[in-house]
Symmetry: C2
Subunit: 457 residues, 2 copies
């Protein structure tokens, strides 16, 4: 009995000491991030000197070269590229849209932009009547008779009542992604989609769309939330109004591009790899600050933090700048393919692709027993405002790794209230990112990596 | 034994049903705030049509009149004013500061503003050498010999390592509040104080200062963080540089002003009052959006939410727009004085004066047993991102109520990372407030009021 007690006491004692050591390590990591952080100045460079960087663009190539250098400067033991072919879609010149009354009078120009991967209108544009629907399900109700020859105006708004705004995004984005091929079945000549946002302003939000191979392709564009509200109202007074739409986008031949990978060698060669990443490409309309410059500079920062506080984690830490998340996911797929080919041991992968806002937690996809281990670490995170480990979900770029190798994946969950104000617009700029919020996100990921590296999952 | 089990099961059952009912009420409150919220448009009016509203100013009076109307429109059963006299300090015309080299060359104009309650420089300004110190404690080390006849430059920065930024504010604000009277003991002729902020920019941050009655008064102003860094660097190359300072501020005679009080009568007359409030005055430099327009419109919103979802809480809910928090606290004191005089029963008071950012919790000052009751409600708040009930602290305006009547007090704790970017500056404007973040703060207060009204503390 005595010896059992002794063992029990020793266990409690050791656990307490370990927790104390980890808590000291957390403090070191956060202090380093908040006092010597480089993620904010790195983001400034990426946004202001390079800017929007859609896959295949010259800016994407500049971003690859800059990230390579930045990872070196952060102290990576090695930096290398992973080649992959990417689609090269371009917007091509000024887009415009205009409402003309049924009597032929020009009423108003409205702010639109082509959706990514869309075909363009003919050179002379498309002019047609408009039919408003609130989501794909309504198309069938309307039927071919009402839709044939018209532009379908998808006007389903995001649900404002979810606290986690990504849930509402999931509910509203299907009309953007799949609306064109659904509408063409009923004879639509183009679609305009309400911007997937919770705010009211004049910025159209682009984003990926796709066509079904078996169906004709029609042009697809986004209209700002203000524009959508105005158009919806105006349709009530003039249901036969004409809408003029002109876009110039197209696919050029695929381009060679790269993931950028920076490694910090682990102290124990038998331990596996912990991946941390974001995506280097962004939409062309803004600077890709929250989406996903933030994830890139935070991932680079992980290397800098460990190097600067002089800690060599047991696992190899691999910071990855994935290419082409926005309109192809080629980088994420290539990363998983190579990991499988080389038979690499991956302990976990963490993604930051939800904006550079104050962190609140990590969502995850992993076994229940792993999740319960993860949740047992929550008290260490709580003093840093990171409390939520309950949600399911990994990230787009590390999804293929989970599919290929079953790797546990996690995603940083920042406060989500402002994300869809900026998402895929001209105002996703450096100025909308707060230095401390960005740094806290990076530090939270570094702290999580520390725990996984020490204790596994 | 059986009957004990039955009682126990009944208790668990009743508790579970109650928690479920409360959870339904929380969802109602948040949905109402996020779908029909008026706080954002109210804030727009307060910021854009009225603007900065320092106590005693015509704008403060306009704000009183507007708030009276807004509380009526929100559905208050009664709205009334509580008269109080307030100090009337004015900035008076353009302020300027300039660095002149020891050789007499004009080097640079630097952004400054007078601290609230300060006296002005003489009409011709003050020109003197500068001595840099990092906090009040350093004055004694320097001594009269080094300080006499000079301008003291307090350059202590906020500590960036605290996650809750208000802690760092507390650590750096003493030089602003008390620096002038401390420096004059050593013969200083004026003080310039590094802006109390965690960001680097050109905005000087004003804020209250005070003089000790027994000592001479010298002018006090704030310099922007960029200005402070530049001056500190330049002093290293030219320690005998001259600083020219010109301010025009002064006190006018005290003015009559008001707290605005809106009540929603409780359903049970034996229950007490729950106060919820913010302060209506703001500094003159900006629009007082986060400080504390947010708290005002959220408090008005509490009334609107309960009215609109058709719920009459047991307690009387009293929304209070306190006057003169920034440079006198006369409104808060008057409120407590009247409550005591009328022998009112106050169950709790809640303040929102930490910005219109995403809510994370409530700090409180109350008995331990009350705090543990409060913390038992945390699971209801968690789905709304409100998880932290551990911190101590009430609010400035409701502090006097606690002193007078021992009322339990609480303060909304929004995410604090961005607050000191805007605090007391020209950029504390409507545009820096996010609609949803503001609404979530108001809804969190409404939910807390619901719980206190139902179950007491």
């Amino acid at each position: 009995m005595k010896s059992k007690l002794l063992i029990a006491s020793l266990f409690i004692f050791t656990t307490a000491i370990t927790a104390q050591n980890d808590s000291v390590m957390f403090r070191k990591i956060f202090t380093e991030a908040l006092t010597n952080g480089k993620s904010y100045s790195n983001l400034n460079y990426l946004c202001k000197k390079i800017g929007g960087r859609l896959a295949g663009s010259p800016q994407a190539q500049q971003a690859v070269e800059w990230t390579f250098k930045a990872m070196k400067e952060a102290g990576a033991d090695t930096v290398y590229l992973q080649e992959c072919m990417v689609p090269h879609w371009i917007r091509g010149g000024k887009e415009s849209a205009r409402v003309i009354s049924s009597g032929g009078k020009i009423i108003k120009d409205v702010p639109i932009c082509a959706l990514g991967n869309s075909i363009a209108t003919p050179v002379q544009g498309i002019t047609a009547q408009v039919i408003e629907v609130f989501g794909i399900a309504e198309l069938e109700k309307m039927g071919k008779e009402k839709i044939q020859g018209k532009i379908v105006f998808f006007n389903q708004a995001m649900d404002p009542t979810n606290i986690e705004t990504f849930r509402s995004y999931g509910g509203a984005v299907s009309q953007r992604w799949g609306g064109a091929s659904e509408a063409v079945k009923y004879g639509a000549v183009a679609i305009i989609v309400r911007s997937v946002t919770l705010t009211q302003d004049d910025n159209p939000h682009t984003g990926s769309m796709g066509y079904k191979d078996s169906l004709n392709k029609i042009p697809a564009c986004a209209i700002s939330s203000n524009g959508a509200n105005w158009l919806s109202d105006y349709l009530k007074t003039d249901k036969d109004l004409k809408f003029y739409l002109k876009t110039n986008c197209k696919f050029l031949p695929e381009e060679k591009s790269y993931n950028v990978v920076g490694e910090l060698y682990g102290s124990d060669k038998n331990e596996g790899i912990i991946t941390v990443g974001g995506h280097l490409d962004s939409w062309d309309t803004g600077e890709g600050a929250h989406d996903d410059g933030a994830g890139i500079v935070q991932s680079i920062e992980i290397i800098r933090i460990f190097k600067n506080i002089g800690i060599k984690p047991k696992h190899t830490i691999r910071a990855v700048a994935f290419m082409n998340e926005e309109n192809g996911l080629r980088g994420g797929k290539k990363y998983a393919e190579l990991a499988k080919l080389k038979n690499e041991k991956h302990t976990a992968a963490i993604e930051s692709d939800a904006g550079g806002f104050s962190p609140r937690g990590f969502s995850s996809e992993m076994e229940l027993i792993q999740k319960s281990k993860l949740k047992s670490w929550a008290p260490l995170f709580l003093p840093y405002g990171v409390y939520d480990f309950d949600n399911d979900g990994g990230g787009a770029d590390i999804g293929p790794l989970r599919e290929a190798l079953g790797t546990p994946i996690l995603e940083l969950m920042p406060d989500s209230q402002r994300y869809f104000d900026y998402h895929h617009t001209a105002i996703d700029t450096f100025e909308t990112v707060n230095k401390r919020e960005l740094e806290l996100g990076g530090a939270s990921m570094a702290a999580l990596i520390w725990m996984i590296s020490e204790y596994g999952l």
